[in-house]
Amino acid sequence: MSDTLIFYLVLHIILGSAGIIFLTAYLLSLSKKEPDSKSLKSSSFLAVLSFIGSWIFGGLYYTSYYGKVVKPIILKGQYSWVHTILMETKEHLFLFLPFLTIALFVITALGKKGLEKNENLKKSVLRFAFIIVGLGITAALAGYMISGAVTK
């Protein structure tokens, strides 16, 4: 694998992890009795940038290297289900993340008065953000298993 492809893969992992961290910070901040709207806005915005970056660099690695080199190795090994189930699911569920995070940012930026005053809206946004974090963690865990299946 070339240095450029390693760079793409590392950026995909780092930015994806950063997106999860920013969203976790968002969840913790929104859970407070009096959430700081600036902190919510910045953490959701940084999560948007992180997931878009991870999407682009992951896509560059996936389309130029994974399918041609990594996928055949996994399919020939004893853990072929790691590709047929985990990778196939991960690559498509990942597509949800940038759009849902943009939606979360728009809700946070434009609906800050509602988030401060309306407890039901706050609970709805908390559940929504929690599901996005869950999707991100699922994609990350699948990524670790896919990497592990290549060497075995």
Binding site: T84, V125, F128
Partner: protein, 105 residues
């Protein structure tokens, strides 16, 4: 505030459309090799095709939904966010379940 709520409503609708679109296109491209080949030929890779088409659905869906949105309330926005959350769970399960089913046959 009304304009802001309409924009939030529009983006939530755009998100709902894109989540459904990704689930449908993912399953359709596995069921129909012709459709997957069309994505590959048109966009260079089926996943790139899904990414570009999903972006178009999200932008157009959010914009049109914002433009045609009726007056709404904070309570209504909360209900729509709940609906979007359920839809994300449902479509995630559909995608994961489909690949488990496909691998088992």
């Amino acid at each position: 505030m009304d304009k802001e709520l309409k924009m939030i409503q529009g983006v939530i609708t755009g998100s709902m459309l894109v989540v459904i679109f990704i689930a449908v296109v993912t399953i359709a491209s596995e069921v129909s090799p012709l459709f997957k080949d069309w994505l590959k030929i048109t966009f260079g890779h089926h996943w790139v095709g899904k990414s570009i088409l999903a972006s178009i659905v999200f932008v157009l869906g959010s914009t049109i939904s914002t433009l045609i949105a009726r007056e709404t309330t904070i309570e209504e926005i909360g209900k729509r966010i709940n609906l979007l959350t359920y839809l994300v769970v449902l479509c995630s399960v559909a995608i994961g379940g489909f690949f488990i089913f496909e691998a088992s046959i």
